[in-house]
Amino acid sequence: MSETDKIQLRRFNSFYGEQPALKEIDLRIQARQIFALLGPARSGKTTLLKNLNRLTDLILSARHTGEIFIDNRDVFSPEVDLPDLRRRVGMVFDLPTPLPLSIFDNVAYGPRLKGITQKSKLEGIVQKALKSAVLWDEVKERLSSSALRLSGGQQQRLCIARVLALEPEIIMLDEPCSGLDPISTASIEESLTRLKKEYTILLVPHNIQQASRVADRVGFFLSGELIEEGAVDQIFTRPRDKRTEDYISGKFG
């Protein structure tokens, strides 16, 4: 295993009840790049993300075989501190999910859970996170107003800021632009490109073009299998597998 492998999956299988969702996944993802998980619906992309921060623990029927390592540490080891793992592996969901709190309280939610109560410190964290998510200029005048009043695109950037406030190492985004207009999408893509200098980003893009625009590497998933994985140029110009080619050229999906 090379030093720069941030995430490694070894013969990883995931099930909901008897239904397999991921089959024999072997995958390495390096730090400080955008890795796009491409594939049609129900191909296991979200399941993979939710195993990385063990949100699958909340699903009673979920179980797994195989191993996942982050920084060479076993994610499923009994010694793992779950809140700590989830702080290191932040997740943004497909629909904007602001909590019914003010903008400030949404971003400060995670840091407060971690035990940070000092007001000036929280203010600093919130400001930095909102700036990184390219939302600060739009909301700096009304941090105490309800997050529910923001537009869809602003809410999603708020969710990104909320994750950034925890200073994670990995950020997972599950179709973060699915409900958004092209302008909001562009601003989120712009912030992602900027963020990859510091973070490892896993992105389920909401269409193939988005993957080609922002990703460094791409994995193509189909019915729970990883069909192929490679640099974005290679996947888009010289796919090795016929199914990848068909999907990218729009023959199915």
Binding site: N53, L55, L58, L60, L82, P83, D84, R86, R87, G90, M91, F93, L95, T97, L99, P100, L101, S102, I103, D105, Y109, G110, R112, L113, K114, R142, S144, S145, S146, A147, L148, R149, R162, V163, L166
Partner: protein, 283 residues
């Protein structure tokens, strides 16, 4: 075909209107009846004096204090128990034998007539625990009575919280307890409040269970162990024993006003809370 559809529409509309306005009419009529008889007799002294000559003259101050004390004791005991049960049922356990048993128990409790609670309270709190006819015995009895309502409304309130809130809280590094304390309970409070308010209404209006557990002394209570007479019991005794119909109506009117005040204040508090929770300018 068109005609018959039209007629069904009209018939349905009529039934619904009669239902809605029938209910309203009954409510207005009852209120009107009590207030018309009672309000002219309401003076400041009536609220601040003790009953004299068995209630023929004087006021109702001790019964107001008694009503409030019993209600506060009942709510203070039943709310944490009920909310705790609801949180356990929804957040700590899956549907199974234990949760079914708890639900079956609360459903049964909800259907028991209040006089049976009174009997239980008399045997258990008054006699067995030796608390005597007291605010404490009555409050505990009322607490067992309003518990099912509080559990049920709290559970509904927790159930109505979007799944995504939980997921977000866990994903941001929240423990189960942090998630309950910071997301689940704050968002369930408006619903829980409704249940508590129903409990308050039931406590204020209860007579049978109280007579058996708190007695009917109209002396000013001095501690949790004093017997009390609530406004409803005062009303009942005045009317039942033929002591004074006027004073009964006046007490009834005061009782209705008290409930109106409690509801108004509660709604105002709730509104303020929701605004504060969600930040300024809530949609």
């Amino acid at each position: 075909m068109l005609l018959s559809r039209y007629h069904t529409q009209t018939a349905a509309k009529t039934v619904i209107w009669v239902g809605a306005f029938g209910t309203l009419a009954v409510m207005v009529w009852i209120l009107w009846q009590v207030l018309r008889e009672g309000v002219p007799l309401l003076h400041l002294e009536f609220f601040l004096d003790s009953p004299r000559q068995m209630g023929r003259t004087g006021g109702i101050f001790p019964t107001i204090v008694g009503t409030m004390a019993l209600t506060v004791v009942a709510v203070l005991i039943a709310t944490p128990l009920g909310v705790g049960t609801a949180v356990y049922l929804r957040e700590y356990t899956r549907e199974g034998r234990v949760s079914r048993l708890i639900r079956f128990g609360t459903d049964c409790l909800a259907g028991v007539p209040s006089i049976i609670f009174g009997l239980f309270g008399f045997v258990f709190f008054v006699i067995f625990l030796g608390l005597g006819w007291s605010i404490l015995s009555g409050g505990l009895t009322l607490a067992t009575m309003i518990l099912p309502t509080i559990i049920c409304t709290a559970e509904e309130a927790i159930k109505a919280i979007p799944k995504s809130y939980r997921e977000v809280s866990y994903a941001l590094g929240g423990t189960r307890w942090q998630t309950i304390a910071k997301v689940i309970l704050p968002n369930a409070i408006p619903g829980i409040f409704t249940g508590v308010l129903l409990g308050v209404g039931r406590s204020v209006g209860e007579t049978a269970a109280i007579i058996l557990t708190s007695g009917s002394s109209f002396l000013m209570p001095t501690s949790l162990f004093s017997p009390v007479r609530t406004m409803s019991i005062h009303f009942y005794i005045l009317a039942r024993e033929g002591i004074s119909m006027e004073m009964a109506y006046a007490t009834g009117a005061a009782l209705i006003l008290l409930i109106l005040i409690i509801n108004t204040v509660a709604n105002w508090l709730l509104h303020r809370y929701v605004r504060k929770l969600e930040g300024k300018g809530h949609v």
